[in-house]
Symmetry: C2
Subunit: 152 residues, 2 copies
């Protein structure tokens, strides 16, 4: 078969494998995260806040590589769930200080069990996780390279 035709095979599409893998892995987290009462993207927000808080929406957006427009409604849901607080920053009335509530803070203890549970579920060692992480990082960087984007 012509190699160019061959490139169009579904099986050979990186974008296909990647999106299925992402959906599958996120799906595998679901039952584990249900114990915490959060969705996967919300879990990522909590991870970011456990490392540092308060943070602004902009800051979270940069850390999680998500659009503020995606975070805005999500943070409101998390506020309703009692996980975080949303208040204007004391030094800047434009910025929103997103902070953990006591409930959000205490959830971290339960979350400590998540990575181990997932490594077991996915049958991955710490080393393999780091290796895959590095590969994903390279992909992410390639997409963010301006040269890849200004072509069109």
């Amino acid at each position: 078969m012509d190699p160019v035709d061959d490139d169009l095979l579904l099986e050979h599409q990186l974008c296909f494998a990647l999106s299925v893998a992402s959906r599958s892995v996120v799906g595998a987290y679901r039952p584990v995260l249900e114990d915490l009462g959060v969705t996967h993207p919300q879990y990522l927000v909590l991870l970011a806040l456990w490392e540092q808080s308060p943070r602004t929406v902009r800051n979270l957006s940069d850390a999680l590589l998500m659009e503020p427009a995606t975070l805005s409604p999500m943070l409101k849901r998390m506020e309703s769930a009692g996980l975080i607080s949303r208040n204007r920053a004391p030094d800047n009335d434009r910025a929103l200080a997103v902070d953990l509530t006591e409930r959000g803070r205490s959830l971290r203890r339960k979350a400590l069990a998540v990575p181990g549970a997932m490594m077991e579920r996915l049958k991955l060692s710490r080393e393999e996780v780091l290796e895959l992480n590095a590969a994903m990082q390279r992909l992410i960087e390639a997409t963010q390279d301006p040269a890849a984007n200004d072509a069109n």
Copy 2:
């Protein structure tokens, strides 16, 4: 730092790297696919149909690892766009025969340029694509292993 605490670092989360990589790569496809007038998931449906058609919703669901409930509205949009036809299967009134229209079929020519353009954009060789694909495949299989799911 305690290795278990360390596992909770955002940077170390495979799920984080993976979902960002997926969103980033799909995002990188966007401008390329805009020329074809389709979204990324729709492109995957077309790939499947170019390989074999007609196919039922169930068959597409199995091939693309997407829920029928996800495909159903998507296929309607693709029908409105004139890319596919949706008719009951001649031998089974439950099944829907999803087939390409002339327009959908002819789009394949344009699509032949997509994989090459993307490999260039992502600065990946055919070999690297295959390698990443295999890694994703292993992940997908791990999530579909019943042992990983019946625990809860």
